[in-house]
Symmetry: C2
Subunit: 354 residues, 2 copies
């Protein structure tokens, strides 16, 4: 259990961060995020850089003002999307050149540029620009890539130090550990970044298709080389039981599309017991025939807005006829579940029972 | 200015009713509808009868409970949708037989059945089952049709009287005036229905493609034969200036997809002056380039949730990138505008200035 101080307030960890890819958590207002206790959300640098573009967010006074969210925002570096979405990508020592997937124009992104963009967005927790390899990767490629990531992290940090000079409210800068699925490379990457003394460390390059046991192994191989007094963020994870395992391995922060994307497909989470052990939750398909005449809430023990106000049969009906209110109510429920899971983990840690 | 007493409370007229076609006003919760003062909403009998079906709504305890809305609901008779959506329709004296547009099964709907369905839905204001002709209609067809509608209205009323016997909270039953675009037929239809003494009267068969001057003429031709102490409802209208004209002609109640459908297409309403005269409002396309860097609300004088919290540039961004939150915020704004328009009309009537 820890606390992270940011320009927009304290965050209690371990924490899950809902994803506001394009400056909005799909279907929800900031008021709704506040209503169920979201402490921090994630914005995607690449998507926001593409649309609406930096000029507009700068003129709005930053992403917080643009989207009317007053709590902390973490931004990714854009690296992951450049590697997964952009066309005709070319990587050099300097950075990455690519064609935008929105309008085809050529964009170049460097470690310095990524930091500058995140500063304009007004991010509270900034990520270093990294190269994220696909799984599986050859060891030689992983070695070369992690070293490039370390050099980029250093360049980004220098830019960051210039930009925060004379600023009262300083955002945090995280380094991103790479090294694919090789324990010794994870150690190398972690040590190189720790030597630069970042405000926190992300475990990158995982949950990209490798078996979950490998993910856990790599988290361990990474975490033991990170300082205990700095936050650790596992990027892009994961399922509820995986978050618990990762917290046990020392992870403090998570983000994932799972709860929101699943909600939009009518897949909802329900707690089965309170001890967070074994099969402690269930996933239901709301369109399932068995909810047709079920006039109880999805989970009668759940205190979310959806369960407090609507029956499973109504939610099912909304999905069946394609009313978007259904996706909205499901998103509220699933994010509430994920945030509640983290709250339970924090309480359990506080009580010394985790 | 008047008041209508229903089992779920009083309605102040003139009033606009947001449409909850399938048991939800698109994108919005009942709490949001309450927040901007919606007094009554409209449910579509045909759509709700198709999905989720009567059995489910009955088990839920009615439409109010199913969708968690505690204020009045008006339901249409299903007639309009049977005539515009259903396949292989066959009209007889008895009623209508058709194939469902959802699953192709044969359904028969009679005046009695329509009333029964609306009673199961738990509607506060029930419509008689009518035949709605397309525009233009031949006079002979219109004559035959209005007479059938009157006979159906009478049969429906008999069924209604049976069903409300011994009930404490009695819903209201409206007759629907037809007669296409013929003044004498409008008079005939009105007189036949008034003889049956309904709780209110709908002006049906208008805003189906005829020129607006013809609409006004037919409203006049209808209203003058209706009792002054009963509410009059113009079905399916209309644009803001048309509502004002219709109120002048004696109409008390409106419903229309315009504000919500336009909202989903990024077309928003803004008041230009307070006297409701001349070009008193403007329609804007939120995706217009000119809003790209406009960090003011869509309408800085508007007190809706959207204008109180978000800039035009942000709303534009949400539409451009296809975030459904944009449609939701636009729906809130447009419904607020329509309800505010009716509120202004009521105040103006109260002040003797209308």
């Amino acid at each position: 259990m820890g606390k992270i101080k940011t320009p927009h307030g304290l965050i209690e960890t371990p924490i899950f961060m809902p994803i506001a890819t394009r400056g909005a958590v799909k279907h929800l207002t900031p008021d709704e995020l506040n209503s169920f206790g979201a402490q921090i959300i994630l914005g995607n640098t690449y998507h926001l850089f593409s649309r609406p573009g930096l000029e507009i967010i700068k003129k709005a006074g930053g992403l917080h003002k643009f989207m009317n969210w007053s709590k902390p925002i973490l931004t990714d570096s854009g690296g992951y999307q450049v590697f997964s979405l952009a066309h005709r990508r070319k990587i050099t020592e300097q950075g990455v050149k690519f064609r935008s997937e929105v309008d085809g124009r050529e964009i170049s992104l460097t470690p310095e540029e990524s930091i500058k963009i995140q500063m304009v967005l007004g991010s509270d927790i900034i990520m270093s620009f990294d190269e994220c390899l696909a799984y599986p990767a050859k060891k030689e490629a992983a070695q070369t890539s992690l070293e490039l990531t370390s050099r980029w992290a250093k360049r980004g940090q220098q830019e960051f130090k210039k930009l925060i000079k004379n600023r009262r409210d300083k955002p945090l800068l995280f380094g991103i550990v790479q090294g694919s699925t090789f324990e010794d490379l994870r150690q190398q990457s972690a040590e190189q970044l720790v030597a630069l003394n970042f405000d926190g460390y992300s475990v990158g390059g995982l949950t990209v298709g490798e078996p979950i046991e490998m993910t856990y192994k790599m988290i361990q191989a990474t975490e033991k080389h990170l300082p205990v007094d700095k936050p650790r963020y596992l990027m892009g994870a994961g399922k509820p039981e995986q978050l618990i395992e990762a917290v046990k391995l020392g992870v403090d922060m998570f983000d994932c599309v799972i709860p929101t994307r699943n909600a939009r497909h009518g897949l909802l989470y329900i707690f089965k017991n309170n001890n967070l052990k074994g099969k402690f939750y269930e996933q239901i398909h709301i369109t399932n025939e068995k909810f047709k005449k079920d006039f109880r809430p999805i989970d009668h023990k759940c205190h979310c807005y959806t369960c407090s106000n609507f029956a499973a049969a109504y939610l099912r009906h909304l999905f069946v006829v394609g009313e978007s209110l259904g996706q909205r109510l499901a998103t509220i429920h699933n994010l509430y579940f994920y945030l509640d899971l983290m709250r339970r983990i924090r309480h359990s840690i506080k009580a010394g029972k985790f």
